[in-house]
Amino acid sequence: MVAHLLRLKLTLLRNSLRRRPSQLIGLAFGVLYGGGAVATACAALIALRFDEPSAGISGPVITLGGSVLVLAWIVVPMFAYGTDPTLDPSRFATYAIPSRTLALGLAVSALVGLPALGTSLVAAMSIVTWSHSLVGALIAAVSAILVVATCTLLSRVGTAWASSLLQSRRGRDAIVTVTMVLILGYIFGASTLGGLAGALTAARVTETARVISWTPLGWAWSAPWAWAEGNLVGALLRLALAGLLVALLGWAWVRATAGIVLNPRGLATVSSSERVEGLGLFGRLPAAPVWAIAARCLTMWRRDPRYRMSAVALPLVPLILLVTNRAWAGEAKEVALATPLVLAFFVGLGPHNDVAYDDSAFAAHVTTGVPGWADRLGRLVPYLVVLLLAGTAYVVAAGVMTGRWDAIPLVAGLTLGVAGAGMGIASLTSVLLPYPVPGPQDNPFSTPPGSVGSSFIAQMVFMASDIAVCAPGLALGLWWLTGGPAWARWASLAVSVVLGLAVLAFGIWRGGAYLDGNADRVLARVNRAQ
């Protein structure tokens, strides 16, 4: 059965590449991009072989770096790329496969993929680092296996758990709470680090690594280090703990799989029998295509789990910068002036792949022949609302925290400019470079296979254009803030506002014109059934 599922995964991957050769380009990009990072890490691990094993930097570096890698396996799927849905347990619900076998097969087939391949390579290379002695290499080999198992299971369990949470109102509240706790934890961590930053020495790093080595993130990675220091008991204890963690995660994954197989639809259903009387926003906004689209998007933000995440996260993300700065409360308090700009950036990034979220429902816009500009503008309205409300709040907050009220008009102008430029570019990329996203019924933490590369290209294009447009205004503003001439302030204000609004208008106009002539092509690209 395990071999079957593995073969299925490989066949699906091959067929999807054959179906859409463009994915191959994306995959090549992914290999180049991720491959570079993996190669660097592997080279570093080999170089560390020549380090003094007991008192050198190998142990702390591998423990800290490895812990970050494990953390990335939880965080990245949840907030960025998601997990692969081709082998979602719910798809096997109608087959009579024991859930334990299924869970094992799915976990093993999760190893097929670039992130798992890269992690395995890095973990295997750490054996080289510890190959001073046979026992050390053996311990490193066991820890490498445990690391790979921990990573793949962790991402599977984490996303299964989080997506089941997102389905209920209580779960959504829980996620908001967790986000808030994370932010508070980050403040605490940042202020501690801020205190340490003055004395960033090897001793400090080693001390931190030693603490991390006793947390679940570091157990497996630090076992060879303990042996190298002559602490066999510590090494074995850490390996045992890491093994226990894998067993625990495996148990949780079997439980999650069994739960999904027994109730495959449970993941996707909205709180059933939800009823909404009347027209909602469709009755309140003006009766015109633009406003109808705006009303539809705003309604989806509330009811579609894929939008809910960003609806919650979008206004909260800049808080991180604001509060971190509060914690540092030192020399560079002007950094808080950038808070509204962080919001503006995300407001611009938000709609950069908006059409893809419609999936084939976008056909309604094609058959009704709605004007392209109305489609473009209507979809921006929710983001404009966030910009108006949260943007104003953050501009005021930045003024209060820094006391630099003289800079506030400039900050407000830059916010408008950055958001406008982003939304304008997004209005183009969402019709020109749409990339696959999970459907409304899918796990919101999943990524259609082979889409990582195309999403990467679209995001790179967006970022490069956004930076190019915003750089002149931001540079002038920074110059004035750091002691440049007075005219730089007004030049910055004028340049960003004019450029931002011009790009916004251009994006809506050209994106709309493209849609008027090529709506069918956009539909073909976002229709996942094809």
């Binding site: 909404v276 009755g283 309604t299 056909a363």
Partner: protein, 294 residues
């Protein structure tokens, strides 16, 4: 919009009252349902010329010519994979033909899309809806996208939901609808702007018999007041009873086209269809299916 066919919906006339059935051709079976009579003006509602569409190596539609007379109730039948959905998608602006032209009442769909789409009401098959909206919101959305004013949209939406038996579920989310209810709400979306030409891909699939007869009644009234309906279906009896004209397509080509009587030529449409399309396989083997494996 005032002279639109839908406005006459409230006073439907029985299809049989519209004309006397023709005497059956000699040697014809006597049990065939009488063909539907329609007023013919000689105008063309939908004209396809040399439509070609390929997907990679597969030719879905290969040089298809088809004229749908204005005022007809036109059935498009064909086996699975014949190119029905591909053809209808090219007619409605959802899929660009590799070559060939489509016009709706004289407006080219691909060079003058705004005018052509205004005349069309479309029920696509196999595409998603904005299903996180309620039924009422979805129909309202379709109307507003067409630039209609809200009072008209809302009153028509309520009327349509009532007629289609969805009034009780107007405030439920479309994602919670059954397959048949989803079909009906899509039909309501296609009708709300009172189009001249309705293009319906499998409108009766998954619809229960009671709703099906309601839909038939609505479409009958639409045709009786001068509208044109094109629908695709696998169910020959349904096309035979409902349609005035029929086209049989297979492998991306029109095999036969004309009034229902012309095409069936005195036999049942199903017999004629199997003749035209051919390729009926006789079930051999599968004996193991009679011995259960538990």
């Amino acid at each position: 919009m005032t002279e639109s066919p839908l406005d006459a919906m409230s006073t439907p006339t029985a299809p049989s009252a519209a004309g006397q059935p023709l005497p059956p051709p000699t040697g014809a079976r006597a049990d065939l349902p009488p063909p539907r009579a329609v007023a013919r003006t000689g105008e063309i509602a939908i004209g396809c010329r040399g439509l070609v569409r390929t997907f990679g190596q597969t030719v879905a539609v290969g040089g298809l010519d088809l004229d749908v007379p204005k005022g007809s109730f036109f059935g498009l039948v064909g086996p699975n994979g014949a190119g029905k959905t591909t053809t209808l998608s090219m007619v409605t602006g959802l899929l660009r033909p590799d070559s060939g032209t489509v016009s709706v009442l004289g407006h080219d769909v691909w060079t003058d899309p705004v005018a052509a789409k205004r005349l069309l009401g479309v029920l696509p098959d196999g595409l998603r809806l904005f299903d996180r909206l309620t039924g009422l919101q979805l129909v309202t959305y379709s109307g507003l996208l067409r630039g209609m004013d809200r009072d008209t949209v809302v009153s028509r939406a309520h009327e349509l939901l009532g007629a289609l038996g969805l009034a009780g579920d107007a405030s439920a989310l479309v994602v919670d609808y059954s397959a048949g209810m989803t079909k009906k709400i899509s039909l309501a979306c296609a009708l709300v702007h009172a189009p001249r030409v309705l293009v319906l891909d499998e409108p009766f699939e998954a619809v229960d018999p009671v709703s099906a007869s309601t839909i038939k009644e609505i479409l009958d009234a639409f045709v009786d007041s001068g509208g044109t309906v094109v629908l695709s279906s696998h169910v020959m009896e349904l096309v035979e009873r409902l349609c005035s004209d029929v086209a049989v397509i297979a492998a991306g080509q029109v095999r036969a086209v004309g009034t229902v009587d012309e095409v069936r030529g005195g036999r049942s449409l199903e017999e004629r269809f199997v003749d035209l399309v051919g390729g009926r396989t006789h079930v051999q083997g599968l004996e193991w299916l009679r011995t259960f494996s538990d």
